[in-house]
């Protein structure tokens, strides 16, 4: 691999050829603000927040789409660069609701984070603001187009990750919008509710409806796990607050799926708290299933199976194991049947 030497803020660093200036900075722990950039999507260079000054280059190039070149001298924090970023943030904030206190994204909003860092007031530019209806007609995704900053990541996610392309820009200039065709609400479009758009939105324009009001980012712990729906084996993070799962978010390191998920994986987790859960053992008494404690239930089973085995032989007992349970549990189940009961009468439903 060919390596290049470039100077960032007076510091010489080496990066592999083909690295963007943004990646070169991030590899060296030099912070650069970005809104439209995402490593898993193609770069648009649209938000312009990542601009830097590069010796010999006209204007302020965006670092996310500028390739590092041998001997390049980059400045990432000089007053001119910081002022340009601040102005861009002021422009975005001027056309963005300031209801951060009640916004689901609070604490995880890139715009808020940078606005704070750059001392944006939100008062310099007073004028027209978008005023579009909020799209809340579906059970999964809450879409507030007024919070959209036109970074276009949701569009790319819908196209590049999901291959669905139900989202795109419409209109132009200040009137540009992001949404399904005819700006229909999600549920009237062909949306599959995979939620990839939500997973890349840097602001509160797209949020998981189920999680609204359920927890702030700093209160939530994330547990990576494997999806229980279908054989693809997607991984994601269960978001847990106070011992309760409040939602699912993408884990970009998921080996099979990256940030992609489907409607079931991302939004079907409320199944855990279904009213139909059995939460205590039940024993049939006088033809009716009634609650019992564990000892009673397990003793009853041990006794009954023991009797049947004794009377009719181990092959009079069978088990259906489960394609929903873990490998370890399936292992235990077959070991139970083979070693404890003494039969090979074990199968499971979906062995095709």
């Amino acid at each position: 691999m060919e390596w290049l030497t470039i100077t960032i803020d007076g510091r010489e660093v080496s990066v592999p050829k083909g690295t963007t200036v943004l990646d070169a900075c991030r590899m060296n722990n030099i912070p650069i603000p970005t809104l439209c950039h995402a490593p898993e999507l193609t770069s648009a260079g649209a938000c312009r927040l990542c601009v830097v000054q590069i010796e010999g280059m006209r204007n302020l190039p965006p670092s996310c789409v500028t390739q590092a070149a041998q001997g390049m001298k980059v400045e990432t924090q000089n007053p001119k660069v910081r002022n340009a970023r601040k102005t861009i943030l002021e422009l975005l904030v001027a056309n963005h609701p300031l209801d951060c206190m009640t916004c689901q994204k609070m604490g995880d909003c890139s715009l808020a984070e940078y606005a704070y860092e750059y001392g944006v007031t939100g008062e310099i530019y007073q004028g027209e603001k978008r005023n579009l209806p909020i799209d809340s007609g579906n059970p999964f995704i809450l879409r507030d187009p007024n919070k959209c900053i036109m970074c276009g990541k949701c569009i790319k996610a819908c196209t590049e990750i999901q291959g669905k392309s139900i989202l795109d820009f419409s209109h132009r200039g200040f009137n540009t919008q992001v949404g399904p065709a005819f700006n229909l609400p999600y549920h009237e479009s062909d949306c599959d509710f995979c939620g990839s758009c939500v997973s890349v939105c840097p602001v509160g324009a797209l949020v998981e409806k189920q999680m609204v009001g359920k927890g702030r980012p700093w209160e939530v712990s994330k547990v990576q796990t494997t999806c229980p729906f279908c054989g693809v084996g997607c991984n994601f993070d269960l978001n847990v607050k106070d011992g309760k799962v409040i939602g699912v978010t993408s884990n970009p390191d998921a080996p099979v799926n990256g940030k992609a998920l489907c409607v079931k994986g991302r939004f079907g987790m409320d199944m855990i708290y279904s009213d139909n859960r059995v939460t205590t053992p039940l024993i049939r008494k006088d033809g009716v299933l009634v609650p019992a404690d564990w000892d009673e239930a397990l003793d009853l089973i041990a006794t009954k199976l023991g009797e049947i085995k004794k009377t009719y032989g181990p092959n009079s007992i069978a088990a259906l194991s489960s394609a929903h349970c873990t490998n370890e549990e399936n292992y235990l189940m077959q070991k139970f049947m083979r070693a404890v009961i003494g039969t090979n009468n074990i199968d499971h439903c979906a062995r095709t």
């Binding site: 279908c230 847990v240 259906l320 929903h324 490998n327 979906a350």
Partner: protein, 536 residues
């Protein structure tokens, strides 16, 4: 899986999911991937975005058919004829990979002879697919740089399911599209851990890792490990169990996390079998239809409440990590089994699921190098023969697991039950995106989003029967009847009705046929005759 095991020596997806986006040609047969395996569907769409060609074989105009280069709308149950026809065209045009056939396979001549009678014209007549489309598909697939076959239950859920699979294996070997990156034969497993349940020996004839119970060496190994004598005779498969229950050969059944009353074909027959038992234990997280029949119901824990591993369809063993405590008084299924074993006089004294995995690794060569720690966040694809092995991305490179690939000559066979005068519609079943089997109905948001069955029926049929969109109709077969709403759509051809298997209120499997494949004993969910009648 038995089909692939016969042909290649190993019954699993030959390639990895992340090889899909780089495939040049995809041959998708009997698989509605964008709905049943949504994220695999997205990978296929990513491949299309990179210029891949797509051949779809399906009677329904599924989403992938809309995106395909060639869509072969075959009559249900004519898959073998179609594949033989494509092989006939490939051989006739000299598109076969002679070097591959020579070096890597056996039994080719027999297949060549068999497919001779499957001329394009004959096949077109049998399948209903125009000759030009057959030729186009054959050319695309045979001449591709890399090509993968994908199939699911549309291939296997037939009485000739195993033969269907072996036909596809023939096709792949004929063209050399196997044993390399982005080329192979890929059965996509339906349920999250169906691969793992098989891997772990939840099958009547094998121990974990497909080690035969009938093999004395294997038996000796497990007897030594477990310290008890073991039975070398294979046990009952599912359909046998219900038969045996009715005949009183089977007295007790322990059902773990399944709902056969809903999910098995010919539900009424299943119900009869369960009712005949002396003792039924169901361990489940919901009070399922099967649980309602049980003598004892044990509350298990959901995926969020336990630690362990799932094996996905590409053989990747991945961690399931506990996020919350079991709800209410529930326990993890592992814990319950251990307690029961202990109470029955064989103490299962595992401190954690990790310890169970250590035992699995010790006894199972394909899992030998797996520990929870190694799985980490990325998992490992078996075979993982030792602790340093990085896992296996695709199978059969350079050599098939069974040595030479086995061509098997196969003739077309008709489904066990076809529409007739009394039951004039062909019922086919499958999945839809918003649900997964029956238990997503317990998710309030998914249930709210997609609350009821919408049986698909062609506009021509709807017009003839004077049915309106959203109308509730009665669907009946020789085995049962149900009521369902309908949706009128060109997705299904004339004469077909399509239903999913997700809804308690329209339990499709009261209709389906309990006939099954002779090898795997998989039910023929995909084809049976039904009648549709207007209510009132």
């Amino acid at each position: 899986m038995a089909g692939l095991a016969t042909s290649f020596g190993s019954g699993a997806m030959t390639n990895s999911i992340n090889e899909i986006p780089n495939t040049k040609v995809m041959f998708v047969i009997g698989s509605n991937a964008t709905e049943a395996h949504p994220v695999i569907g997205t990978k296929m769409k990513q491949a299309l975005a990179k210029g891949a060609k797509l051949i779809v074989v399906d009677p329904r105009r599924i989403d992938l058919a809309e995106r395909s280069d060639v869509w072969l709308r075959l009559r249900p149950g004519t898959d073998i004829a179609l594949i033989n026809g494509i092989m006939n065209i490939i051989i006739a045009n000299g598109w076969e990979d002679r070097a591959f056939i020579e070096a890597r396979t056996e039994g080719y001549e027999k297949v060549k002879e068999t497919v001779q009678k499957y001329t394009p014209e004959v096949v077109s007549q049998v399948t209903g697919v125009p000759v030009e489309q057959l030729v186009e598909a054959a050319k695309l697939y045979a001449t591709a740089e890399t090509a993968q076959i994908f199939y699911t239950l549309g291939i296997t859920e037939h009485t000739c399911g195993t033969d269907n699979v072996m036909s596809l294996a023939n096709l792949a070997m004929l063209t050399g599209n196997i044993g390399k990156e982005s080329s192979g034969v890929n059965p996509m497993r339906g349920q999250n851990n169906v691969q793992g349940a098989c891997d772990m020996g939840a099958l009547p004839d094998v121990y974990p890792g497909y080690q035969k119970v009938a093999n004395p060496e294997v038996q000796a190994k497990f007897e030594a490990a477990w310290g008890v004598p073991l039975d070398p005779n294979p046990g009952f498969m599912i359909p046998d169990m219900f038969e045996a229950a009715v005949s009183k050969d089977l007295r007790a059944l322990y059902v773990l996390g399944e709902d056969p009353v809903i999910t098995d074909a010919d539900a009424n027959h299943v119900r009869k079998g369960l009712k005949a038992l002396d003792f039924l234990v169901v361990q489940e997280i919901f009070l399922s239809e099967t649980a309602k029949l049980a003598d004892v119901v044990l509350p298990g824990a959901s995926y969020a409440e336990k630690t362990g591993t799932f094996s996905n369809t590409e053989r990747r063993v991945q961690m399931v990590n506990q996020a919350i405590k079991p709800i209410g008084n529930a326990k993890t299924d592992g814990e319950i089994i251990c307690e029961l074993a202990t109470r029955m006089g064989y103490p299962f004294e595992y401190q954690s699921s990790e310890e169970v995995m250590q035992e699995i690794a010790k006894l199972t060569p394909i899992f030998a190098g797996i520990t929870h720690q190694r799985l980490g966040t990325q998992g490992l694809q078996w075979p993982v023969p030792h602790a340093e092995h990085p896992g296996t991305k695709f199978l059969h490179e350079g050599k098939f697991n069974r040595g030479l690939g086995q061509f098997v000559a196969i003739d077309n066979q008709l489904p066990a039950e076809l529409p007739d005068e009394k039951y004039p519609f062909l019922l086919s079943t499958g999945r839809k995106l918003s649900h997964y089997n029956v238990f997503t109905q317990h998710s309030p948001s998914l249930e709210n989003y997609s609350p009821e069955e919408l049986a698909e029926i062609n506009p021509t049929d709807a017009k003839r029967l004077k049915l309106k969109e959203g109308e509730v109709v009665q669907v009946s077969s020789r085995r049962g009847e149900l009521k369902t709403k309908i949706i009128i759509t060109e997705r299904v051809p004339v004469g077909m009705v399509f239903m999913t298997l997700h809804y308690f209120d329209s339990p499709t499997n009261v209709l389906t046929n309990g006939a099954f494949d002779k090898v795997t004993k998989t039910y023929e969910y995909k084809v049976c005759g039904v009648q549709i009648s207007k209510l009132s």
